[in-house]
Subunit: 197 residues, 2 copies
């Protein structure tokens, strides 16, 4: 059955897109990140809470601070990527809720006064946003290299010294370099993923 | 700056798309779900672990079992949506890793022998996949109504009695009905979300 999304867009975002493990040194402009954000910011979150935050590492000094916390296998590609983004969520995202969800501003206190409820909701909703962001990077014609191999506590201390953010994902971004892609791994068949009741 | 993704696709997935709160009774065919899955299954996960599982509630009996665990405000729209999907992750996703990540089959035991490591990775990666799935529903020309307002332990006991899955999100799916959309809420400006180092 045909999808409403045109096949070229399907290919760009999903079918022909691959996680990149090498990058050219072509820079990623700030304007490209803005265009990506201005697209993916519309993806849904609960109560429009929008807890995702992006830390873009552009200076060599900032990059070096990150590398000490990355798993060994992720260091070389993270050192050479033209841009690396640290994706985190804001533990105090609720402070912006009266502005973000004007039709029910009481949600800020009624649902999110406890930090534990913000941890659960912030992690879930910012991770949904991270999924939108990865597709947004591809929508810009760039390749993404998302990574979870890092010392999360180390990154949190290094970059979020006030303790108010929690890292979720680190993403290298750029144009794919030589031998950037591993062979496509198989996916689970529909019948193994879906149960119909 | 222009994105590589064509503007009609940007609109379909992000700019013109809204969370739906009412639906027509036009059914959502199994073939549509298969087409969505066959697109979004290519979205990246760590080690291609692909932990997301979908439980599609089609029978009135299955729908009633869900409704008792939904927050009151989510009951009417969930009762009348043509299809409701329960998105969960498989706590034993690692059993499929030798097949899903053939270039490093030892990852199954080297990284994921402890259930606690599968909880962390499964929740994160399945939530990324949930983000891809929500955009996939829109790619099919359908509206999604994602919800987190439910009793997670209740749903886990009701639908995953063996204790091997954890619900993340419940999503109503269909064609939008009358007054389906709330007004677009504001989004955070780029400068409030992004830090450049």
């Amino acid at each position: 059955m045909a999808l409403a999304l045109d096949p070229a867009a399907q290919d760009l975002l999903f079918r022909e897109a691959h996680t990149a493990n090498t990058f050219t040194d072509e820079p990623v402009a700030e304007e490209q990140l803005q265009a990506i954000y201005d697209l993916v910011k519309y993806g849904p979150t609960a109560f429009n809470q929008s807890p995702l935050r992006l830390t873009l590492l552009r200076s060599p000094e900032a990059r070096e601070r990150l590398l000490t916390h990355m798993a060994e296998g992720n260091v070389p590609k993270t050192r050479t990527a033209p841009l690396t983004a640290v994706l985190s969520y804001d533990l105090d995202f609720h402070e912006r809720l009266p502005e973000l969800f004007p039709r029910a501003p009481h949600i800020k206190d009624a649902v999110f006064s406890e930090e534990s409820s913000r941890e659960t909701a912030g992690a879930l909703n910012a991770t949904l946003q991270a999924g939108y962001f990865l597709l947004g990077v591809r929508a810009a014609g760039l390749a993404a290299g998302p990574m979870t191999g890092f010392d999360a506590q180390g990154i949190n201390k290094e970059f979020f010294a006030d303790g108010r953010r929690r890292v979720l994902l680190v993403v290298n971004i750029g144009k794919p370099g030589p031998d950037a892609f591993a062979p496509r791994s198989p996916r689970l068949p529909y019948g193994d993923v879906v149960t119909v009741l």
